[in-house]
Amino acid sequence: MARITASVYTSHVPAIGAALDLGKSHEPYWQPVFQGYEFSKQWMKNNQPDVIFLVYNDHATAFSLDMIPTFAIGTAAEFAIADEGWGPRPVPKVIGHPELASHIAQSVIQQDFDLTIVNKMDVDHGLTVPLSLMCGQKDPARDAWPCPVIPFAVNVVQYPVPSGRRCFNLGQAIAKAVESFDEDLNVHIWGTGGMSHQLQGPRAGLINREFDNAFLDKLIADPAAAAAIPHIDYVREAGSEGIELVMWLIARGAMSDVARGAMKDVAGHAISARARHRFYHVPASNTAVGHLILENSL
């Protein structure tokens, strides 16, 4: 049977991709950002998944205002790298996992979450920047990403976006879906976007370290409390684009300590997800960069 062994959380700032693509990663401005992912790249090599279920948002790339799906799962065999206006990022195309993706779609819809099934879409920086951060720079022609990726796009562009609680519950449904897939697959689930940032208006550039770090604390130790944060708190405290953090709750909801909340180990301690890495840095362009790796302890 397939199972989720770990979750990864990271910001997906487009300028990080540009810094990598233009060879700026060793500049003093960028060096501290990439330093925070050195552990993670090695961890990826040591814990290579068979499939990554990657939760991100499309930034007016595959979805214009013609169609705005709240939750969209990519079931294609492969996904091209989008031209977001600067030309496509020079990274390998993304290979999908149509069998597992279709299985998850079927199972999650039967658990009452209405997903949009997408058989053709280009993927933007929301999906490729996390891959670059975790897997390192890849040549578009000679290299490949280490494994297939299932893109899962969440609407955080047009209000109302799904609530944190809805996302957290959806993560639990995704975990069940993965566990009912017959093939033995090691699956990672990634939640991306955030942390505090605002890209618009006279309030652009807002950063809130206290909110971000409290969110990281809650996400690790009390994810149900993180899931209870209402939209308006993200907007007011973490900036209009800080709302992207609801996507982290999908990944967190899929961890086994959430489903097995009441379980204790032999010593009577609650069995929780194990934090392997935590990183926070301000700024990358307009944004606070947050990053976390959690492993399932069961």
């Binding site: 006279p202 309030r203 652009a204 550039g205 950063i207 209009s240």
Partner: protein, 147 residues
């Protein structure tokens, strides 16, 4: 019953909701067209006639021609769509975001490196933070106005 909009009292912020989306549909779809290289070339060659191919309001067209992103936002633009205009002009997201504050590019970058804009005084309209209406424009542009 009207829709609940708890975000209207956040200063310096326009939330892209159903109303803004309806208002800005053609403006944002024009922006989407700039994802194709040949459209970027056509737009750059003759901006006004390219805009005239879209059923946008005159205010939306003038806001685009002026590259006034705050004005574009008020006219229903969404920042992720408007970013395609900036990309066509070769601008980064930081340059675009900064342009909405009145600060110079350098002033905005310096603010970000120093830890970004504080949330203090910028949670509710009527407080005294630097994103409030009575502190616009920010940076040296604002000091000139005061002087």
């Amino acid at each position: 019953m009207s829709l609940d909009k708890p975000y209207l009292d956040v200063p310096g912020t326009i939330i892209f909701d159903a109303e803004q989306s309806r208002k800005g549909y053609h403006l944002n779809q024009f922006c989407m067209s700039l994802m194709k290289a040949e459209n970027r070339e056509r737009f750059k060659a003759e901006e006004r006639s390219y805009l005239d191919e879209w059923p946008m309001t005159e205010e939306q067209k003038l806001a685009v021609l002026a590259r006034d992103l705050n004005r574009c936002m008020r006219a229903g633009g969404n920042i992720y769509f408007l970013a395609k205009i900036g990309a066509t002009d070769g601008k980064s997201f930081q340059q675009m975001a900064g342009s909405m504050t009145g600060m110079t590019e350098d002033e905005y970058r310096t603010m970000m490196v120093a830890g970004g804009r504080s949330v203090e005084g910028n949670r509710y309209i009527g407080e005294d933070g630097n994103a409030q209406a009575h502190h616009q424009p920010q940076g040296s542009a604002g000091q000139k106005v005061t002087a």
